[in-house]
């Protein structure tokens, strides 16, 4: 039996579509991320699971129980908010123990559970501190501990790292995944940060304009995007207009240069076909048996671990990423170069 089932969920605000026909099955212990741009409906969907929004259509089943219209305080669903939402009048221990005291758990048991959970989030020494005495990262750990303390059936996280700076974000992200795996808790995570979704999730639901674009593992989503939106939203992607030479044979033309694509027919060919290829799949120089194109170097940017090169191929710009190394010889601006990419690494949309 599916642990969490979202079936045909739709939500409208007046005439504005927020979520339409959303279907998802989440297994017990799975980490699923909703990924998409602002306004794509990911938070609305999460809020429907939490019980803060009522869907106009569809059902939500948790462990086989229909919770679509169940009040938020009866769902046993833990929620972590972007703004932490710690209770300013309570110290860390009281915040974490709040859900347990609401359930009238004996004080000694609350104390024990709070200590246990604070140990997991590595804040056991800060029990007496108030939220205003904590940094953003610490506050979010407390919020996570508070949500976990009630042993929720599902943990929901609504962009929990957005308000933190980059370094803490990366640290806390790893910690969230560690805790999730340690407690084997079913988790739904909302983010607009693709790196976050790719690094954390068992599966990603990519959303756009209230609809699901694609559901898959991070590997599938990145390497086998099914729509142009997914392809361009996740990672960097080169999209170059092509003319069809022989579709069955996978032959296309960019200006005067012909390329071969290992054909797959997952998506229908659009009226204006484009060749899609990730910048890291393109190599400088000639490689035997690969597609080759002549290009003009327009700009070279050093980004630390990688070097990004802006090229121009038949009047269309194309990005190329090279891993940085000390002996790397970089092309000069306006230099004519040959680039290569394998047949299997590109596809036509």
């Amino acid at each position: 039996m599916t642990y969490l089932l979202l079936s045909n969920l739709s939500k409208y605000y007046g005439n504005t579509l927020a979520v339409e026909n959303f279907n998802l099955e989440v297994e017990r212990g799975e980490f699923v991320s909703f990924l998409g741009p602002s306004g794509c409906g990911k938070t609305t969907t999460l809020r429907m699971v939490a019980g803060f929004e009522v869907p106009d259509q569809g059902n939500i089943l948790l462990e086989g129980e229909d919770i679509t219209y169940l009040a938020a305080n009866q769902r046993m669903v833990g929620m972590v908010f972007q703004s932490y939402a710690l209770f300013p009048n309570m110290n860390v221990a009281d915040n974490v123990g709040f859900g347990l005291s609401v359930r009238k758990m004996p004080a000694e048991q609350i104390r024990q559970r709070v200590s246990e959970i604070l140990k997991i989030v590595q804040l056991e020494d800060l029990q007496k501190r108030y939220p205003y005495q904590l940094s953003g990262g610490q506050q979010q750990r407390v919020a996570l501990a508070r949500a976990l303390a009630i042993r929720p059936r599902v943990l929901l996280l609504d962009e929990p790292l957005s308000a933190l700076d980059a370094k803490i974000r990366v640290e806390l992200r790893a910690e969230i995944r560690r805790i999730q795996q340690e407690l084997k808790i079913t988790t739904v995570y909302v983010t607009h940060d693709q790196e976050e979704a790719l690094s954390l999730s068992d599966r990603i639901v990519v959303m756009n304009k209230g609809r699901i674009e694609q559901i898959g593992t991070p590997f599938e989503i990145y390497n086998y995007p099914q729509t142009e939106f997914v392809a361009s939203f996740i990672g960097q992607l080169n999209l170059i207009p092509v003319q069809v030479v022989d579709r069955e044979g996978g032959l296309y033309r960019i200006g005067g240069q012909t390329i071969q694509v290992e054909q797959n027919h997952r998506t229908p060919l659009s009226s204006q076909p484009k060749l899609a290829i990730r910048p890291e799949e393109v190599k400088l120089g000639q490689v035997e048996g690969w597609n080759q194109l002549t290009a003009l170097v327009r700009q070279v940017s050093f980004l630390g671990a990688i070097v990004r090169i802006w090229l121009e191929v038949e009047g269309v710009s194309l990005l190329l990423d090279v891993f940085n190394e000390r002996k790397l010889v970089l092309p000069k601006v306006n230099e004519k170069v040959v680039i290569s990419f394998p047949h299997h690494a590109c596809w036509v949309l």
Binding site: A50, G51, F52, A71, A72, N73, Q74, R75, M76, V77, G78, M79, F81, S83, A85, L86, F87, P88, N89, F98, G99, V102, R103, Y130, Y132, Q133, L134, S135, G136, G137, Q138, A143, R146, A147, I150, L156, I168, E171
Partner: protein, 265 residues
């Protein structure tokens, strides 16, 4: 350039200070002249010795406390609910909260007497009924102060997210209201309450028509009409009382500025 600016600031501060404090000082000085030729607190002694002073003072204080309590019970959940569920009604509620400034107290009290003297209420026929009516009128009169204070307090916290966080942890409305929201707007509520108490303690119009000399306001007016020095001492006592309440508000607000520990994690 900054020196002339500072001088002008001091000049206007002194002018303002004189404008406010000179009449007060003059009143205080006058209140000390009850005994011919020497300064004394005789007028104050006479006021405190008058049994009517203590009786009216306690009565008005009781009315003030009940007014503050009734006002909090009415306004706090209302403002919370409007912020949470009906933000589109905020403009209307703000307008309503300002009405006591627009409608004169005399109009309010005549309206109350007219409506609640006859069937089916008959509130003015008994002391208890009149007191209830007086408190109800004072709740309306002090609504702008309580509403503003509570609304400002709720504005400072993220009401919606705190409510949702508490809900997700299993809390019902009572728990959310009294364990999560109320403690975070406690200072605002107390500030509003003190303003309400101060207003009620000196109120004359409504009290004189509903309860007459039983209240402190009409008592002060009566003394002012008949006893020269005592009326000045009462004015000073009344000022001192208001300042004491303002001082309490300041005391409660002190130390509220909380700074986030930067950088640590």
């Amino acid at each position: 350039m900054s020196k002339p600016n500072t001088l002008w600031s001091w000049f206007w501060m002194i002018v303002g200070g004189l404008y406010f404090f000179l009449p007060l000082l003059a009143t205080f000085e006058f209140s000390l002249k009850a005994r011919k030729g020497v300064y004394s607190f005789l007028a104050y002694e006479r006021v405190f010795a008058d049994p009517l002073f203590l009786r009216t003072f306690i009565f008005s204080l009781e009315m003030a406390v009940f007014t503050a309590l009734a006002g909090i019970l009415l306004i706090f959940p209302t403002v919370y609910w409007i912020r949470l569920k009906l933000p589109q009604l905020r403009g209307l509620i703000e307008f309503v909260s300002m009405l006591p400034f627009v409608v004169p107290a005399i109009v309010l009290v005549f309206g109350l007497i007219r409506v609640f003297s006859g069937a089916p209420f008959f509130l003015t026929n008994t002391f208890a009924g009149t007191n209830i009516l007086l408190i109800a009128a004072y709740v309306v009169l002090t609504m702008p102060y309580l509403y503003r204070s509570i609304d400002t307090g709720l504005q400072a916290i993220d009401v919606r997210t705190l409510t949702e966080a508490a809900q997700s942890l299993g809390a019902g409305w009572g728990t959310i209201l009294f364990r999560v929201i109320l403690p975070n707007v406690r200072v605002s509520i107390l500030s509003g309450s003190f303003l309400a108490v101060a207003t009620v303690m000196g109120e004359f119009t409504i009290a004189s028509f509903l309860v007459g000399i039983r209240a402190f306001g009409p008592y002060m007016s009566l003394v002012g009409q008949n006893k020269t020095y005592e009326s000045s001492s009462l004015a000073i006592i009344s000022f001192a009382l208001t300042w004491a309440f303002i001082g309490l508000i300041q005391l409660l607000n002190r130390g509220r500025v909380q700074t986030q520990i930067a950088g640590a994690h």
